[in-house]
Symmetry: C2
Subunit: 618 residues, 2 copies
């Protein structure tokens, strides 16, 4: 169904195409970057497609409307007679047509005049309160409502229909369509669509401005909340949109984006393997995929993806739940020093520094100090959340050189099962809490990274090390009861346990004495075993702990058995000589808990600014 060329819609389209053409050629003349005029070109192409649909033929200044059929062949004899009539008729038709055209032209000219007048009025009008770059926010004034003026994007709901709202966010995307602009604004996990169409209150320059503000700039939008006919695709607040009344850029992005946010938000296509070496080079960007290393190089941008916004909200909740539970169990929070004297603690894997002329190192765990506080200092139950440093040159997907330790240490009355009871219940509390308090965040992580919900039992499964080894052997995997478990065998055991007990989370107890630190309390019945345990999520270790030796004589004996020069640990031993409570505890790798709970393939995804042997920035 073709419209006639005289249709005002066609005329309008012609005007728009001409205006766009002008803008583009001006932009090209001014040597503007392609990013600036390319969207205009896209708009023009869209308009031309629309033109063809309406008129049935391509648009183009060269294709003048030629009178149809006039030059088509007829015999001269027949023609001579008919010609007079036809000519008269044609002349009349022509006159009528011209009259019509004249009228249309006049109408068009009137419209254009009107438009010019409007534009002229617009040009002389001060639109700065309607759109444009806002002055830098320097705390020069406060609005009447103060911060109550703003609504959070996440709070935009149907119930606000018809209400005026003001929102601030990163400009996620913008596009112009005809005389309208469609903008997606993003804040934390949420996005909303804002739309504007040219009108008395919306000058065309504003539409142009809206489509030209660089993505990721900070924008303030004021408008009326409406409910669109169909849900807005690609916006989390899909049931609503904002009819823009004013649009201001609060802070303008001035550098090119190192990658597109749309790419950074794309769901994983390949699930990275989570065992084995981590290859920094392989994690540069490639094609549309934004590589892990590229993301980290520009972490301040990467953190804006809904998945990352969620991961670090979940991380915050893990710490909150950890503390909530332990405080309810009469633990207190402590802060122990990260700079320790000497370099005695861990040999080669320790970062060393100069401390006012004395050798010092960074703490590899708050072990000694948390024991001093809980067992010797009389605090009985303590925890700490703090950085832990490992100078280990491990380039894997699960090692960091600086991570956050969730440490706890407690006096025991008669058996270290008291510690395991606390830890088991602690994790159930954390897992339950995450499910209820971070439902939205979990969903957003799932959308990008896709994971299976963690399975766990309400009474945490505990198996002995020997049982674990037996399970492996039954599955045809070589594992001696007194040898250490390889990472690979840990994974395999995790699979076996999951299959057999339907849990991704379990405790393994009674490790061989030989594979644990010297301060581990030996098993009372089997001298080759110890009162120690690891805890696993999805077959990877997240906690290591034990009952500790509280008798200085035994501590000394065990240190000697390990070949440790007792003089180097004399201050550690001294702490137990003036009365010390029996005690036990454990250290949890916080980033590992987050990584494994969410089934992430790389611990760098659960550390906000990760440190590995190759990365020390940003």
């Amino acid at each position: 169904m073709s419209a006639t060329p005289e249709d005002p819609a066609i005329a309008e389209l012609n005007d728009q195409i001409a205006a766009l053409g002008l803008s583009i050629s001006e932009a090209k003349k001014a040597a503007a970057p392609k990013e600036e005029w390319d969207p205009l070109l896209q708009q023009m192409l869209a308009l031309k497609v629309q033109y063809k649909q309406l008129t049935g033929h391509d648009h183009g200044p060269s294709k003048k409307e030629a009178p149809k059929s006039e030059s088509k062949g007829e015999s001269n004899e027949e023609a001579s007679e008919k010609n007079k009539e036809k000519r008269a008729k044609k002349a009349a038709e022509k006159a009528a047509k011209e009259e019509k055209k004249r009228k249309q032209r006049e109408e068009r000219e009137a419209r254009e005049r009107e438009k010019l007048e409007k534009l002229s009025a617009a040009a002389t009008k001060d639109w700065s309160h309607v759109f444009g770059d806002a002055p830098m926010i320097q705390s020069s004034s406060k609005s009447e409502d103060g911060i109550n003026k703003w609504t959070k994007i996440g709070d935009l709901k149907k119930e606000l229909e018809g209400k005026k709202v003001v929102v601030r966010g990163h400009l996620h995307t913008s596009r112009g369509v005809g005389k309208g602009a469609f903008v997606l604004l993003r804040s934390s996990l949420y996005t909303v669509q804002c739309v504007a169409f040219e009108s008395n209150d919306v000058p065309s320059a504003m539409i142009k401005y809206m489509t030209n503000v660089p993505v990721e700039s900070i924008v303030d939008v004021c408008g009326i909340l409406t409910i669109p006919e169909k849900a807005v695709e690609g916006a989390t607040q899909s049931e609503v949109e904002i009819q823009v009344q004013s649009y201001h850029c609060v802070q303008k992005a001035t550098a090119a984006m190192p990658f597109q946010m749309e790419d950074a938000c794309r769901p994983d296509t390949v699930k990275e393997t989570d065992v084995g070496a981590y290859d920094h080079e392989a994690n540069q960007s490639e094609g549309g995929r934004v590589g892990q290393e590229t993301r980290l190089d520009h972490r301040w941008i990467d953190l804006r993806t809904p998945a990352n916004q969620s991961i670090f909200r979940i991380q915050s909740m893990v710490c909150t739940l950890f503390r909530e539970y332990l405080l309810s169990q009469n633990f207190i929070e402590i802060h122990t020093p990260k700079i320790l004297s000497g370099a005695s603690e861990g040999g080669a894997d320790v970062f060393t520094l100069d401390y006012f002329g004395k050798p010092a190192c960074l703490s590899m765990s708050p072990q000694l100090h948390k024991q001093m506080a809980a067992a010797c200092g009389g605090f009985e139950r303590v925890f700490e959340i703090g950085p832990v440093f490992r100078a280990e040159n491990s380039n894997t997907r699960r090692h960091l050189c600086e991570f956050t330790g969730l440490d706890l240490e407690m006096a025991i009355m008669e058996h270290y099962d008291e510690v395991l009871d606390v830890i088991g219940d602690l994790f159930v509390y954390m897992f339950d809490g995450l499910k209820t308090k971070c439902a939205n965040e979990l969903q957003r992580v799932k959308e990008q990274h896709g994971f299976e919900d963690l399975e766990y039992l309400r009474k945490t499964l505990k198996i002995d090390y020997a049982t674990g080894c037996k399970l492996l052997r039954e599955a045809g995997i070589a594992q001696d009861d007194y040898d250490d478990l390889s990472t690979e065998n840990e994974k395999k055991l995790g699979d076996i346990v999951k299959e057999k007990y339907k849990t991704d989370f379990f405790i393994m107890d009674k490790y061989p004495l030989a594979v644990r630190p010297f301060y581990t309390m030996p098993d009372p019945n089997n001298p080759k075993l110890s009162n120690s345990y690891d805890i696993f999520i999805r077959g990877q270790e997240i906690l290591s702990g034990a009952q500790r030796i509280h008798e200085p004589a035994l501590l000394e004996e065990r240190a000697k058995a390990w070949g440790i020069d007792v003089s180097t640990i004399s201050s550690y031993l001294d702490a137990f000589r003036n009365g010390a409570l029996p005690h036990g505890g454990g250290g949890i790798g916080m980033e590992r808990v987050v990584m494994l709970y969410l089934g992430l393939p790389n611990i760098r995804k659960s550390s906000m600014f990760p440190r590995d042997p190759r990365r020390i920035a940003p």
Copy 2:
């Protein structure tokens, strides 16, 4: 009022003194250390005093009872007649007396036989379940009730009268009195008196054991809770005591105490001055006073005093309240790296280290990363509790080389007063919370260190820097509006403000631009001022903060104005080039908050294991 020598009480005393004499001479013969027999000697002296009170003369084997008045002078004439009668009477009396004595002797011998039989029975009986060194707690078994068997010393109340209770604690003091032992057991803030007297169920060896276990050993006491006639002095649980049924040492202190707990707990006599240099030497112990440095050398013991137990419980609560409030205001907790690349951040005052061959340093504040998270990374409101490192060679009472930073950073909509509103309310929340949740702990700190309760207003007082300077000048103290405030003037201003506004806590706003870091947002109206503030408790700074510059161009300009080589901060600048929210925040020194809230004279008292230029252990 003297008792007759034949009184059974006297006989009993004689027996006791004889037995003690035997014990002492045996101990001396066995060359036992004085500590062992000295208490017995003290007991014997006490018994002898008792003897003198009862009989009216000193006790002693040499002083036989001489017949009284018999040899007193009478005239021979009168005497001859009376003598016969008297002699007959005397003979009868003597016979009666001897009969009486014989009976008494027989009774005494019967008692002694009985006692010997009991002792013999006791000697063959196994008393190990009643007293003695317990086997090392190695988790070899669990009792039926598990940990429910034990009652916390702090939970021992009148309501448990007549109930059997089991408690564990440090042996605070012990003393033997007669056939009894008085023991004070301590756990965290609380102490209870346990008493035992020799009886069928309490052998004398147990009394001896109880008075001989070294102080500070860990002891399990089982007994019946009773209510003493008058409150027990020196015990926090003064309304109750435990009649000991069994007494076991769970872990024995094996080293001499570097100072006595009683001395360590003594109320401060001299209030140390809180301004000026800290003298390590002067803080060694002297006389009965346990010096600050001696305490820190043996911090694991010093932490046991009720005041220290309270200080670190209050510290834990400060962190809990800080987080509680910020989480309720939609902040999230983050963890930023403490190892930073290069040594650019702070010049000389930074600890440097080698990071896999690259130069690195320890973070002097999470400034850049918290800005990256809040303003650039889209988290909008973040906080962090973590270590902060300063390689400053400052030996004062208020500087540490490693302390705990309570940091927050938040996006602002239009004015940094939004930050100050959050911070002001945060502190009121913390101060209120401490008062209600740590009432007991505050009392215990006060008992030792004595402080005035913090005065603060419900709407935090905010004065401009210029106003502060004017207040000083009005008090005759030289202070220019654009010069930095000395520590001394800060203190003086604190006094003036306290006098004038009745508050120990206030915000000072609008600092001169020249005395703040380059990233501080300049004031919009006066180019010599800035949008920055400090917060004071009792005239000492505990927080420093500001609106930060979020525009990279201005940031660069300000850096240049400070003479900073822009190439060294390029990554900092880059973070603001892809869209950054206007923002502000602050950093709080946690130990300072605790120190000043409690009016402590030295920041080392509010750091569990302090680090200063001279101390890196324990």
